[in-house]
Symmetry: C2
Subunit: 478 residues, 2 copies
């Protein structure tokens, strides 16, 4: 008996983008709600995307000489307080452990909101000589920030991420490494997630608490809001001094090392959904899709169809393609809709007539174009199709960004664009926080970054009229 269940409908993104997003997260079975507000469960399909992200990034980190470690979950309050700016930034949103078993603790412990303080304490313990430098550490873990509002993937009280922490003998080396890691993130977003990025530096106001400089990659989502996809921070020797991290340099003088930290999180999955998704559901970049291609046998009851599908499954699996064959008793139409919802990049339809003709039908999740290909060349065909999906996704996202990035040279223009359009606005800027605050108050936009690739748009800051120092991007951010 055929199962006649329907794929549930999702809200159209043009009707309500936020509801569309939540529908996709839930119906593609990426996430579930837990009984604690703002804390989510990563379901198998959602977690598999994260595992694929981890696998690629972890390899890239290791190429940079980074080693993985694991630091404690808990930070004593006194340790968190050692660096003034840092504690001011994070203490208000910490969850606090005050009881161990039935005993009240003498000192309360924060669940890590980020682990700079723990890494610093450890570096101070183990660093001795310049021979030990650089130390390049990373950990994959969850962190907790007790925020008031929440949204799947974008803002969790508990979320999964990686945090890299390194110490170097010189400021130059540390600065260079900060930029190197931003480059790793940028390349990953573009080449693996098919998400075009703008690379730049955060303003004083938007930088990480305790950092000397924060670098960022900013992505434009389908609704033209900005997503900060990854950040890399240069700390100078501020933390090292606060935590008394020292080493004997080549002249046997005690010196403080220079420090960096950098991180990306499961927010990237939110970015993938909002960059590539459509009204049929999720669209996954092939390189991190848990299922890259799905085989749908057509008229599966007919002789030879299941056997051929099975053989195809084996051929593609052996070639290292993540492939699934759906032999369930659901209708072909249901299966088409189901795997579109789940964002599988390529669908393979295989029926009796195809088999007879030694061919199958490939359907791209992005263009929905059908292509008939020969079975005896199937591995290459699928790899080509996957690569085409990647390119199509990247180009679509790039087009969206280019078509919705505006230039303004007066404050009036900025406010006009902010009021009537969605997207990024680029302007010159004097560098003062006061002007940045005015843009937020009067135009409802925050500074996204001072891009590395600067352009000269005019000579003055459009807000105050004083000489401009930088070109800067503004936008409405997630």
């Amino acid at each position: 008996m055929a199962n006649d269940k329907k794929v549930e409908q999702i809200t159209d993104m043009e009707v309500d983008f936020a509801q569309w997003f939540t529908d996709v997260c839930r119906k593609a079975q990426l996430i579930d709600y837990s009984s604690i507000k703002g804390v989510f469960i990563y379901r198998p399909y959602g977690y598999a995307i994260w595992e694929n992200i981890q696998a690629v990034l972890d390899k890239e980190f290791k190429k940079q000489g980074v080693e993985n470690v694991y630091m404690p979950l808990l930070i004593p309050e006194s340790l968190l307080q050692k660096e003034k700016d840092h504690v001011e930034g994070f203490a208000p949103e910490c969850a606090w452990v005050t009881m161990g078993g039935v005993d009240k603790l003498e000192e309360k412990y924060a669940i890590r909101p980020t682990s700079e303080t723990l890494f610093c304490e450890h570096f101070a313990n183990v660093l001795q000589s310049h021979r030990d430098l650089p130390m390049k550490y990373n950990q994959w873990c969850s962190v907790l920030r007790w925020e008031k509002t929440s949204r799947p993937f974008l803002r969790h009280r508990e979320f999964l991420w990686q945090e890299g922490h390194t110490i170097h003998a010189t400021a130059e080396e540390a600065k260079e490494f900060t930029e190197t890691m931003l480059g790793v993130y940028a390349d990953f977003c573009e080449n693996v997630l098919a998400m075009p990025v703008t690379r730049g530096q955060k303003t004083e106001k938007e930088k990480f608490k305790g950092a000397e400089a924060t670098y960022t990659i900013e992505c434009m989502m389908h609704d033209r809001k900005a997503l900060q996809a990854g950040t890399s921070h240069y700390f100078g020797d501020g933390f090292a001094k606060a935590f008394e991290i020292e080493f004997a340099d080549k002249n046997n003088q005690k010196t403080n090392p220079h420090e960096t930290s950098w991180g990306v999180s499961t927010r990237l999955i939110g970015g993938i959904i909002m960059t590539h998704g459509d009204n049929n559901g999720l669209v996954l970049p092939p390189k991190i899709a848990p299922i890259q291609a799905v085989i749908i046998p057509i008229a599966a009851h007919k002789g030879g169809v299941l056997e051929s599908a099975d053989k195809l499954l084996e051929t593609l699996t052996d070639a290292g393609i993540r492939v699934k064959c759906d032999t369930s008793d659901n209708s072909a139409g249901w299966k088409f809709a189901e795997y579109e919802m789940k964002g599988v990049p390529v669908r393979i339809e295989l029926g009796p007539r195809d088999i007879e003709a030694g061919q199958c039908v490939l359907v791209s999740r992005v263009t929905r174009e059908k292509k008939i290909v020969k079975l005896d060349n199937i591995v290459e065909e699928i790899n080509t199709a996957l690569s085409e999906v990647h390119t199509a996704l990247f180009e679509k996202a790039l087009k969206n960004r280019e078509e919705h990035t505006y230039t303004a040279t007066t404050f009036e223009e900025m406010k006009e664009i902010a009021a009537t359009k969605t997207g990024f606005v680029k302007t010159m800027w004097c560098g003062e926080t006061e002007c940045e605050m005015r843009v937020k108050e009067e135009a409802g936009m925050t500074s996204r970054c001072i891009p590395f690739r600067q352009e000269h748009l005019s000579d003055v800051c459009p807000i105050c009229g004083k000489p401009a120092k930088h070109m800067i991007y503004w936008g409405v951010a997630y």
Copy 2:
């Protein structure tokens, strides 16, 4: 200028096994202490061992159809209390979060000591029909248990582990899966970690709180104490009833599924150290060693030595062997001692005369035997050497267990063995907790397991004289 630093000495294991263990953990740079008592830092070398364990096990889990997920870190007190035995077992050793930001929480949250309750709540949310079963989930995470005493790897307040949780349509299927996963652990310990295991069932007294049955693998350490290396639990439908997990069976009747859970932790690293280590330090089983072979150039200043070493490094790396070449200015003697301390299975010495003769010297970390081998066959030679190290480790550990497993048929004999010898004692047993308690009180041993491979040693329980039900293993456990 040659660096003349010495490898620090470690305490001999015969003098003080506990101190030897701690010395190895610290000097092989596996672990560091944090500022919270009982909470440890996993350093790069220690964490790399865990990563290798994860990689192998994760693949095995996936072969069994298991999918990874991530559940929240925090458990509301009310959720933890839903299963009576379970909360009694874990609540007294939970760390409790009572404040979020600056606000006192309405309900306190436990940091997960284990996640049965969270998985159950999620299963209840998502399970609908028999078509959804089985659900086989696993997560890699840390858990926290606020214990009074601690030791590196063996007893942490926070430790890394994996916990698998599955639900099945029938009791038979769930029981079978419980045993399957114990088999996965047993094979992993023996074939990957070179640790012989005894497979069996825990007594009522020793089973997991809330389980119907707990299966275990027990290993004998070098000091002849027992280490419980992994457990797999069958829950029946007890948790499912407590958490109202239901599905519509084939006749559309509401039914409770049957549940399992199973886990191993970084305790396995403690087991590796105490099974294979010696007075020169760590000895790592080749399959999980972060460095499987280390190349030590001899007279490295002479022409061609470094080039040959580099070429060898490349050849071995390309062959998938985890190899390191130490070209630092430390002395060869220092390097020999350093990599012995770090437990690298095979050392490769390469000097000018070797290169001239087209050969190198391999030294096994276990037997310390030297073997001259041809460079043109080096990949095969190294693989053979690694395989020999694995076999030698397994056989040494098996011999230790066999030579220190005793049989007793009277309680007097049991007490005599416990007082004068170290190791396992096997006896018959009536099955009563009362007798088990007496063995603990009067002989200082706990039951390790009722082995699957039963032997008939006598007709009666040596403690009470009543008819025996099982053969059982006793020992002193970590």
